[in-house]
Amino acid sequence: MQNTEILLIKEKSKKRFCIKRLVGKGKPYIFIGPLSLLLFTFYVIPIFLSIYFSFTDYNIIKKPEFIGVSNYSDLLLDKTFKASLRNTFLFTLGVVPAQTIFSLVMASWLVSRGKSRLTEFVKGAMFIPVISSMVLVSIVWRILLNGEGSPLNLILNVLNITQPNWLGDSSIVLFVLMGITVWKNTGYFMILYIAGLMEIPKNYTEAAKVDGAGRWNVFYYITLPLLKPTTIMVVFLGMVWSLQTFDLIYTLTGGGPGNSSMTLVLHIYNNAFKNLNAGYAMTVANILLLFSSIAAIVQKSFLKKEKSEVY
C-alpha cells in the first residue's frame, strides 16, 4: 500500500508539475489569444462564409438556397464583370507605379534639400490628403472637376489648355480616378521612403562620390538597391489599397460613364446591396480574393529573396 501511495503522490506531483509547465507553455497563447479570436472571427470565418454563399441564391433576407455553380457560370456571361475586371487591373497597374515613383522622387528631393521650413511644409502638406476620409475627398473633387470656375480649370485656362471632360469622357475617367488616388496616397509612401533613405549610411554614398560617381549613378547603383525592402512594402501596400478602392469610385462616378470606371469592388457592392443578389456578389468577391492572394504570394517571394526579417 505504501508503495502505491508513494506512486500516486509521485504521479500527482508530476501532473502538477506538468500543469505548471502547460500553463507556462500556454502563456504565449493567452497573449495572442484575444487578437487571434478577433481576426479569426472577422476575417477567416467571413472568407468561408463567402465561399459558401457563392454557391447559393441569397437575398440577405430569405434563407440562402443552394444552386451549385450557377453563379460562377453567370460570371462568364456578365459583361459588367468583364469590364470591372479589366478596369481593376488597369487601375492597379496605373496607380502603383505612379505613386511609387512619385513618392520616391519627392522623398529623394526633400532629403537632398535637407531640413528646412519649406521641406517641413511640403511634407506636411503632402500628408494631409492621407489623413482625410476618402468620402470627403471624393465629394470635393467632384465639385472641383465639374465646376467652370473651379481653381483647377482656372489653372488650365492660364496654361491655355482646354478643359478635358474629366468625369464625362469614358476614355479618361479612369485616369482621373487614378490621379486622385495617387494624390491621396503619395504622402504616406513618401514618408516611408524618407525613413528608408535616412537609414542608408552616409558613408556609402560619400565613398561612391569620392570615387567619382555621378549623382545619377550613385542613386541608381547604391541608393535604389538599398531601398528595395521599402520599395517592396510600398508596392505591396499600394496594390492592396488600389484593389480595394471603393469610396472614391462609388461617390465620384458610380462606375460610369457606362461601365468605364466600374471595378470589382463596386460590382460586389452593387450586387450585394443594391440588387440584393448576395450569392452572386460573393462569387465576384472570391475572384477578387484570388487575385489579392496571388499578389501577396508574389510579394512574399520577392521578400524572401531579400532575406528581410519582416516575416
Binding site: I32, L39, Y43, T119, M134, L192, A272, M282, L288
Partner: protein, 266 residues
C-alpha cells in the same frame, strides 16, 4: 536660379495637395445653394452653417459616436496587438512563425469580401446596430506587425533580469516592455484612430438607426438631398476632417515615426 525654380515647384506641389481642403473650408463659411461657387471675395463669409450644425442635434450624436467608437477601437487594438506582438517577438512557442504569417495574410483580404459575411455574422449575434459591431472588427494585423517590430528591439537582458527577479510574464510585459515602446504605441493609436474615424462602408450598412450613426455616414447623407445648402455640407465635412487634422498637427513627428515603423525591415 535652379534652386528658385525648385522652390517654386515644391510650393506648387504642396498647394495642389491642399487645394480641395481650402475649397472645403471656404465654402463652409458661405451659405450657397450651388456647389459651384468659387468666388474669391471674402465679403459673404458667415459662421451660420457651423451654428446650424451645432444646433442640429444629430450632428452631435454622430460626432460622439465616432469619438467613442474610435477611442474604443484604439484601446482594443493597442491592448490586443501589444500583447500579441510581445508573444511573437519575445516568447517561444509552437507555430509562432506560422500563426504570425496567417495574421499578416488577413491584410490582403479586401473588405468587400468580408463585408456581407460580417453583416450576417453580426446579425446572428444580434449585434447589428450596436457599438459592438462597430468596434470589434477594428483591430487589424497592422497593429501586431508594428508592435512586434518595436518589441523586437527591446534588449533581452532587461527582460531576463526581470525574470530572474521572479516577475511573471505578464508583469514583464506591462512594466518592462510597454514603457519602452511608447512611440510605437502612440503611432499605432493615431493610425487606428484615424482609420476608425474615417470608416464609411461598414458603419453605413451596420447601423440602421440615427442614434448609432457615425460622422462619416451622417455627413455623406447631408450631401444627397434633392436641394441643399452646400455650405452646410462643407461645414460638416470640415468638422469631420478637423479631429484628424488637429491630431496630425500636434503629433506630426509620431505620425512619421509610425509610418516608418510600419515599413522598415526589423
Amino acid at each position: 536660379m535652379k534652386k528658385q525654380l525648385g522652390r517654386l515647384v515644391l510650393i506648387l506641389i504642396a498647394s495642389f495637395m491642399i487645394i480641395p481642403f481650402l475649397y472645403m473650408f471656404m465654402t463652409s463659411l458661405r451659405v450657397t445653394y450651388t456647389a459651384y461657387n468659387f468666388k474669391f471675395v471674402l465679403d459673404d463669409l458667415t459662421l451660420k452653417n457651423y451654428r446650424e450644425i451645432f444646433y442640429n442635434t444629430s450632428f452631435i450624436i454622430y460626432f460622439l459616436n465616432s469619438l467613442f467608437i474610435s477611442l474604443s477601437g484604439v484601446l482594443l487594438t493597442v491592448v490586443f496587438s501589444s500583447m500579441a506582438g510581445y508573444a511573437f517577438a519575445k516568447l517561444e512557442f509552437r507555430g509562432r512563425e506560422k500563426i504570425f504569417f496567417f495574421m499578416l495574410m488577413t491584410l490582403i483580404i479586401p473588405s468587400q469580401v468580408t463585408l456581407l459575411p460580417l453583416y450576417v455574422i453580426m446579425r446572428h449575434l444580434g449585434w447589428l446596430n450596436t457599438y459592438m459591431a462597430l468596434i470589434l472588427p477594428l483591430p487589424t494585423a497592422v497593429g501586431v506587425f508594428i508592435m512586434r517590430q518595436s518589441i523586437l528591439k527591446v534588449p533581452r537582458d532587461l527582460m531576463d533580469a526581470a525574470r530572474i527577479d521572479g516577475c511573471s510574464e505578464f508583469r514583464i510585459f506591462m512594466e518592462v516592455v510597454l514603457p519602452l515602446i511608447k512611440p510605437a504605441i502612440i503611432a499605432l493609436s493615431i493610425f487606428t484612430f484615424i482609420g476608425a474615424w474615417n470608416e464609411f462602408l461598414w458603419p453605413l450598412i451596420a447601423t440602421t438607426s440615427n442614434s448609432m450613426r457615425t460622422l462619416t455616414v451622417g455627413m455623406a447623407s447631408m450631401n444627397a438631398q434633392y436641394s441643399v445648402n452646400y455650405g452646410l455640407v462643407m461645414a460638416g465635412a470640415t468638422m469631420t476632417f478637423l479631429p484628424s487634422f488637429i491630431f496630425y498637427i500636434l503629433l506630426q513627428k509620431q505620425f512619421e515615426e509610425g509610418v516608418a515603423l510600419s515599413g522598415l525591415k526589423g
